[in-house]
């Protein structure tokens, strides 16, 4: 069946990826709430789901669903940018099922098998890569991720090569190739903990403060081009300047993780100076989004997508830029390192920069894949509500965690003598932890509102902005 709102029918494979992403997102949030509760009810679900297992599920689901989101985004954007069908839609579908099966098996493995047994059965004695934060996946899963990424990149690279080469698809492809290449460092696990930690950051930092920013900028640029109709030359220039600043500041900015893990003291200066510049690309994204919306040459019927795009630029700047800057200088980080301040920053940065940019592309692409120019007004209204509910819920969480972090630093880190112990301090933070749970519940409410928007039809008196054949021609 031909989908009239798609320029290239193979773009429709993105739907599988987006649906899976949203299901896993929901799982991530449910485990997040569990963790929040375990902070105040310490023995909740123990020993069935200990904290470390729930946390591993929470963070791994986040990574996996964002990867699904990026992949779906790429499958949707690259054919349209390249002006040609995807090299192999079938291959994209096969890889989807492989990746989903591996992801589900891994999560079930975490939940059902003791981690030590999982490590033993999956060859961790042969090549030890497990048990490091965010890289807890068993060896077969890590190898599976590499294989899926290579297949995915091959499919897209072939598509770009046979079609038009735009700045957006080039930056997107560089980001995705960079993501895959940096992941190879997850197989590097030296016996020396200091070297282990240094290379671990090659994956973690150079993903979220490096290659992923390229992906984010290209997704944002794509949504803005489509919804505002602003000239490509203008958009491209912005995008290149944003990614230039992202990498110029972000590569040496890795140093802000090297202060206190046994690496030389000069990283205090290198990391401090360059990571202090890291808010710049995020600030540019905010200017970019507002500027493009102001200069828009048409009113796109999908206003929800515009809201997500502007939202990601603003909240990304607050979370990654401002909340990152707060504790990035080594003299501050000396006290805040490994405290709840880090947790506050991590949550807002991931939500603002990556969750919202994936939701922006889903919001733009899904209606088109479902054969309509934009969702009915009622559905869009639910979507916009969900943006505000989730964002305010997240704000409550982040402010609570920031408060907890400041108090923690004050009680446990600042005193030179008679400092409070870790657990005694945690007891003092319980008010903030309860507020964080309230924010989390609000976030879940927003997420449910968002998911429900997919099932809301047009009002009785509303004509659906539906498949008007040829209406795509007016699109940029």
């Amino acid at each position: 069946m031909k989908i009239p709102t798609l320029k290239y029918q193979s773009q429709a494979v993105a739907k599988l990826y987006f649906v899976a992403a949203l299901c896993l997102f929901t799982g991530q949030i449910l485990f997040g709430l569990t963790l929040g509760l375990q902070y105040v009810i310490g023995d909740l679900f123990f020993p069935a789901i200990p904290f470390n297992i729930a946390r591993m599920v929470h963070t791994n689901l986040l990574i996996i669903w964002l990867l699904f989101g990026f992949m779906g985004a790429a499958y949707f954007m690259v054919p349209e940018e390249s002006e040609t069908e995807l090299w192999s839609p079938l291959f994209a579908k096969i890889l989807f099922w492989v990746f989903l099966a591996a992801a589900v098996a891994t999560i079930l493995g975490y939940l059902l098998v003791p981690y030590a047994s999982l490590a033993k059965w999956t060859g961790n004695d042969f090549l030890a890569t497990m048990g490091r934060e965010f890289l807890e996946q068993p060896l077969p899963t890590k190898l599976g991720i590499v294989v899926v990424c290579l297949g995915f990149l091959f499919n897209l690279t072939m598509t770009v090569l046979k079609g038009r080469k735009t700045a957006i698809s080039l930056v997107l492809m560089m980001g995705l190739w960079g993501l895959a290449i940096m992941f190879l460092f997850s197989f590097v696990n030296p016996d020396n903990l200091v070297r282990d930690k240094m290379y671990w950051w090659f994956v973690v930092h150079l993903w979220v403060e490096g290659t992923w920013e390229l992906i984010m900028a290209s997704l944002l640029a794509f949504v803005l081009i489509k919804t505002t109709g602003v000239d490509r030359e203008v958009i491209d220039k912005w995008m290149y300047m944003i990614v230039a600043f992202a990498l110029i500041s972000g590569i040496l900015g890795t140093g802000h993780h090297f202060y206190f893990i046994g690496l030389p003291g000069y990283w205090h200066w290198v990391g401090g100076v360059f990571s202090a510049l890291e808010p710049i690309p995020f600030f540019m994204m905010t200017l970019f989004a507002f500027n493009m919306v102001q200069r828009r040459r048409r009113e796109h019927p999908n206003q929800a997508a515009v809201l997500w795009a502007v939202g990601t630029s603003v909240i990304g700047f607050l979370g990654a830029g401002v909340w990152g800057f707060i504790h990035t200088l080594s003299s501050v980080n000396y006290y805040t390192h490994g405290s709840q301040v880090t947790a506050a920053h991590g949550h807002l940065a991931f939500y603002g920069a990556y969750v919202l940019v994936v939701l922006a592309i889903i919001s733009y692409a899904m209606p088109l894949i479902r054969g309509r120019e934009a969702n009915p007004m009622r559905a869009q209204r639910a979507e916009m509500w969900s943006f505000w509910i989730m964002s305010i819920g997240m704000a409550v969480m982040v402010l609570a965690l920031s408060g907890a972090g400041i108090l923690q630093v004050w009680l446990q880190r600042m005193p030179t003598s008679g400092a409070m112990g870790f657990m005694a301090t945690q007891d003092q933070l319980s008010f903030f932890y309860w507020v964080r749970i309230a924010g989390g519940v609000m976030f879940l409410t927003g997420l449910i509102t968002y998911l429900s928007s997919f099932f809301i039809g047009p009002a009785a008196d509303e004509q659906e902005v539906a498949a008007i054949p040829g209406s795509r021609l007016q699109r940029a």
């Binding site: 904290f51 470390n52 946390r55 033993k120 934060e133 990498l247 945690q426």
Partner: protein, 141 residues
């Protein structure tokens, strides 16, 4: 952005800037590599320390604790626990888990052998000796 500033110019800044800073970063990493053995007292990494690190990883300790400030923030920092508590306390604590105190955070029972407990302690002792720029600020971690 002025008239002469085209997207080609922006692209060149991106490529040039990235290339330059990748090279600077690589040079600093190579330099750091040469400093790591002394700063981490690499000659003290015995087979017991390596086995201890493997236990640390395969029990996912990082899922609750921090080690030199990195990890989860649910349970105490262990980079300096050797200094804070000493070897016997550490072993006794691990053996006594979980406490089953109602409402309190629980640590699983890992059923370690004496040998494994010693390896884990050796790993924590070595970690405690890494020159990490005098972090944490005080003994409480």
């Amino acid at each position: 952005m002025s008239q002469g500033f085209t997207s080609q110019t922006a692209r060149n800044i991106f490529y040039g800037g990235t290339m330059f800073f990748v090279l600077v970063f690589a040079a600093l990493i190579f330099n750091s590599e040469t400093k790591i053995p002394a700063r981490s007292k690499a000659q003290e990494i015995t087979p017991a320390v390596v086995r201890g690190k493997h236990l640390w990883e395969s029990r996912n300790c990082i899922g609750c604790h921090t080690l030199m400030g990195e990890g989860a923030y649910f349970a105490p920092e262990l980079g300096n626990v050797y200094e804070r508590r000493g070897p016997d306390f550490i072993k006794g604590w691990i053996k006594a888990m979980p406490t089953h105190a109602p409402g309190r955070r629980q640590m699983p029972q890992f059923n370690f052998s004496e040998q494994q407990l010693d390896d884990l302690v050796e790993f924590l002792r070595w970690t405690n000796g890494i020159d990490d720029e005098k972090w944490p600020p005080n003994i409480e971690g």
